[in-house]
């Protein structure tokens, strides 16, 4: 390796098999208290429904379980280890006080059906978080029920459909820019809307002329991410909203990139009618290796009758409760009230920040992205020179000449001690490198990142094979994904 990295060093990590390979009969990690009621004969109670055998479930001791999962954990990269510049994913610090307060007994052990009079604490948290999110987005009302961003999109589009239906015509299609997340078209299909692609202009923004040409009474809504997936703020946002509204359409905003706006601008002020938030992005709840998320949907007044049930209300005696009778509601989108544990964490995050902290957070996130852009401009191709907000998208155009594509550069970044950026997205940039540092990175960490990216660019020129074969320092090298998909092995077998 020609270039040494200052960020990471290789060190020994433990091998570990599958838990089933450690199992043997008679080992146990559990102990039940003595039964304080009479024993029962399960065969007699259950008859032929009685289960006799639990197959190959493991039998292991507690220390083995601790070592097993601890060893596995050391094979993961994580925000706690360093910068995680996945564009569009907003991998920011997950504050530990959030985890602490979510585990306080009366919150962690609250049953969703316990009477409202002994649920006022939980309901107060829902209410306060709702008020904060309404203020942050500049909208009029909110539902916290959706379990993740895509679930929020579905909820939002259900409300869009219900709104149009109430106007006498549900309409037929949703306009979606070619730079959008894959969830947007997939969601439109779930709500039985046709998807019509909307192309971007040379600045990476919505092509206003195309929008004007495509907008008509069949269009229910435009699903727009703002700033968009190039990290570019749609400067014509008001024009976009006007074009939609003139023909009775609605503006849906995918709030995935809300980290660029909190405390600086409010979607409700620039014409958005309905939007979802990702509490696991903007509001610091942990990604946990792929969830849980939480996808509240904030709306303008005219969509309020269509909110999913139940809706949180303040009763005449001042206590909080749920209202279930909502004749125009789109219905329920999940059991109970949403991912409550994530609401606790998001509210703790807002409290730790306050208005000044939230604004500073956004400023730092945008400052960091621009610092990286400045540091790598000229070394990597910047397909759109439009100003960058919270993330910056380069392309592999220069490195591709030597055969190194975005995924190769990403894999090489691993050897330098970083998690890769988002590769090959958005689709409008061939060979995209999508970098979102978030506010959680220090100048020092970003200098190391810029240095690593520069070093890789040099390697591509001088020794491309090193990049093409990367990563070199991980437990496993590049895995055969084709074989995995062709003959899927989806479970262990004895």
């Amino acid at each position: 390796m020609k270039h040494m990295t200052r960020k990471a060093t290789r060190h020994v990590n433990q091998n570990e098999g599958l838990i089933f390979e450690k199992s043997s009969a008679g080992k146990a990690a559990w102990k039940l208290p003595p039964l304080d009621v009479p024993e029962v004969d399960s065969a007699k109670l259950l008859g032929r429904s009685e289960r006799k055998d639990l197959g190959h479930m493991p039998e292991v001791s507690e220390i083995e379980i601790i070592r097993h999962f601890t060893r596995l954990s050391t094979w993961n990269y994580a925000i706690d280890l360093g910068m995680y510049p996945l564009g569009s994913c907003t991998m920011k610090y997950n504050p530990r006080v959030n985890e602490f307060v979510a585990r306080i007994e009366g919150l962690a052990n609250a049953h969703p059906y316990q009477p409202e009079k002994v649920s006022q604490g939980a309901l107060r948290i829902l209410k306060t978080l709702s008020e904060c999110l309404i203020e942050i987005t500049g909208m009029d009302a909110i539902t916290l029920q959706p379990a993740a961003g895509a679930h929020g999109e579905m909820t939002g589009l259900l409300m869009v459909r219900a709104y149009h239906q109430s106007q006498g015509n549900a309409r037929k299609k949703i306009l979606i820019p070619d730079s959008a997340h894959g969830t947007n078209p997939a969601t439109a299909a779930m709500v039985n809307y046709a998807v019509e692609n909307l192309k971007s202009d040379s600045n990476g923004m919505v092509d206003i002329a195309a929008l004007e040409a495509q907008m008509n009474e069949d269009v229910a809504a435009l699903m727009l991410t703002n700033p968009n997936t190039l990290g570019v703020f749609e400067q014509q946002i008001h024009k976009i909203a006007d074009i939609l509204h003139a023909k009775g359409g609605l503006l849906y905003m995918d709030g995935a990139n809300m980290n660029a706006l909190v405390g600086k601008a409010r979607p409700g002020d620039f014409g958005v009618d309905v939007m979802h938030l990702n509490l696991h992005k903007t509001f610091s709840t942990p990604h946990g290796g792929g969830g849980p998320g939480s996808g509240p949907v904030a709306i303008k007044k005219k969509l309020e009758p269509f909110l999913p049930t139940p809706v949180l209300v303040t009763k005449s005696d001042g206590t909080l409760g749920f209202e279930y009778q909502r004749p125009q509601s789109v219905g329920r989108v999940r059991a109970f009230y949403g991912n409550f544990g994530m609401f606790v964490r998001a509210l703790a995050y807002i409290q730790a920040n306050g208005p000044d902290g939230l604004r500073q957070t956004t400023e730092d996130a945008v400052l960091n992205a621009n610092y990286i852009r400045k540091g790598l401009e000229g070394i990597y191709d910047l397909p759109y020179s439009t100003p960058t907000m919270h993330e910056v998208v380069f392309s592999d155009k220069l490195q591709a000449k030597k055969g190194a594509r975005t995924m190769d550069i990403a894999k090489r970044l691993i050897d330098y001690g970083f998690h890769p950026y988002t590769t090959a997205f958005p689709l409008i940039v061939p060979g995209a490198l999508m970098i979102e540092p978030t506010e959680s990175e220090s100048k020092e960490e970003m200098d190391l990142f810029i240095e690593a990216m520069k070093s890789i660019a040099e390697e591509v020129e001088e020794d491309p094979q090193t990049v093409l074969d990367a990563p070199h320092s991980t437990r496993v090298s590049r895995l055969d994904e084709t074989a995995a998909a062709r003959k899927p092995v989806l479970r262990w077998k004895p």
Binding site: A265, G288, G290
Partner: protein, 464 residues
């Protein structure tokens, strides 16, 4: 702000490097009229100690320290301490979806083990990495059956969790999937004659829950026989995962949609929980959600990757099997650790304790109220009908710091003053006895108990 790792000098230096004078210039792309020139009206910045105090106060307003007999899709089981110890490791907690397999093997291998154990417990051949929860898993499983059969009609058991039914109705509205409902008989099980009549050649699937919302274990083999006769698929929802320790899994099902909350996930006022879909290998390409598969690296070393991504939204966009993206990975890890702790023997013993507590409680309640659906086996819930409105009983119980059973009138008006009670291994005999004393305080209940006692005994006799 304590989460931000920059000094004013750092910010200055960075602005200078970019060639800007002030941070405001970075926000110039936002038209001036939309730039917020005031503070957000949210709580002021709080110290960590204040935040902890705030949530402790909310906890005290929230039934802290109450004993509960609620189940109904959310169950209070003991959570081994090592679950939180392990999931709190930053490498699990603060990692993203494992798209970069080389530095995500920990998450990937644990999901592979999770998929394996779900298969072992459900008797299915493949399981996904998780869905949002049991309700959305059931709805997605139904949509999967619609894709697989090319038919659109869906038959749903009325004894499926009422909120799951509501969620399915929401999902189905715009998919052109007409829903039919099949009722339950005096034993709490699905009415087989009614089921038979409700299935046609257009029926894509039948969706049932077992143990059902009343805790009653369904005769899955009989339901499957009727369902399959017309070429429809059987989707079985399992809301109480601990039942799998002692109740035979629904082998005859084509798709199982589970809620795994019982396996080490806190009640948490309803979420986050952990849905899962399990099915036959031949249906895997229509299954929604992430899947982890085993493969090898270029040196032949075993490793794991996310696989069959061509089903998913980031590849297929509007043609994907579902729009699901983020799921419940960290919760699935809790479930995984729980299953590992209890394992082959512990899960059975745990389930047996649930059975014993419930048998005791149901037997005691039968002395003071009418225990419905006694003719079929049940797991850890039972329905009690009292002369007194269960809301009034519950109000009295609250004074003893006890949360009583769930009044069912809201969901099942025909069940009158019935309530759904649940016990787990955590329910103590003394709590059962105390609750029972409070229930019995009501003259009316005692009265009805006297009337029903004789009838009840004969029914129980028959069941034996």
């Amino acid at each position: 702000m304590r989460y931000l790792p920059k000094s004013p000098a750092d910010r200055e230096a960075m602005l200078k490097a970019i060639g800007l004078r002030s941070v405001d210039e970075l926000f110039a792309p936002i038209p001036g009229e939309y730039r917020l020139s005031r503070d957000l009206n949210v709580p002021r910045q709080m110290a960590e100690s204040e935040i902890v105090d705030y949530f402790r106060q909310r906890s005290r307003e929230n039934g802290e320290g109450y004993t509960s007999f609620l189940g109904a899709g959310a169950y209070s089981h003991y959570r081994p301490v090592i679950i939180d110890a392990l999931i709190s490791r930053g490498e699990f907690l603060t990692a993203y979806t494992p798209y970069q397999a080389e530095i995500s093997q920990g998450t990937l291998q644990s999901i592979f083990e999770f998929q394996t154990m779900i298969c072992e417990l459900t008797g299915m051949e493949v399981a996904n990495a998780s869905m949002y929860d049991g309700s959305t898993a059931a709805a997605e499983a139904v949509m999967m059956a619609v894709r697989l059969t090319g038919r659109r009609r869906v038959v749903v058991a009325r004894s499926l969790h009422p909120e799951y039914r509501e969620v399915l109705a929401t999902y189905a509205t715009h998919q052109g999937m007409p829903l039919g409902v099949v009722g339950f008989g005096d034993d709490g099980q699905i009415n087989l004659q009614e089921l038979e009549k409700s299935i046609s050649a257009e029926t894509a699937c039948v969706l049932i829950q077992s143990p059902n919302f009343f805790g009653t274990i369904e005769d899955v083999a009989a339901i499957a026989e009727i369902t399959h006769r017309s070429g429809a698929m059987l989707v079985v929802s399992i809301a109480e995962a601990v039942s799998l320790g002692i109740v035979e899994p629904p082998h005859e099902a084509d798709i199982i949609a589970m809620e795994a909350q019982s396996f080490g996930v806190p009640l948490g006022f309803g979420g986050p929980y952990c849905g899962v879909i399990a099915t036959r290998e031949k249906f895997v390409r229509q299954m929604p959600g992430r899947l982890v598969g085993q493969t090898t690296d270029k040196h032949g070393k075993r490793g794991f990757v996310l696989t069959l991504a061509t089903r998913e939204q980031h590849i297929r966009r509007e043609k994907a099997t579902s729009n699901i993206c983020t799921n419940q990975a960290l919760i699935a890890l809790m479930v995984n650790i729980f299953m590992t702790v209890y394992g082959r023997v512990g899960l059975k013993e745990l389930a047996k304790q649930n059975l014993a507590k419930t048998a005791y409680a149901a037997g005691q309640f039968a002395k003071h109220g009418r225990v419905l659906f006694a003719g079929a086996p049940r797991f850890n819930e039972f329905v009690v009908e009292t002369a007194e409105d269960p809301h009034d009983i519950n109000n009295r119980l609250l004074r003893h710091k006890i949360v009583g059973g769930l009044p069912l009138k809201k969901f099942y008006p025909e069940l009158g003053n019935a309530a759904l009670w649940g016990c787990t291994e955590l329910t103590t005999r003394s709590a059962i006895d105390t609750a029972l004393r409070v229930v019995a305080e009501s003259e009316g209940s005692v009265q009805s108990a006297k009337e029903e006692a004789a009838k009840e005994e004969s029914v129980e006799e028959l069941a034996r």
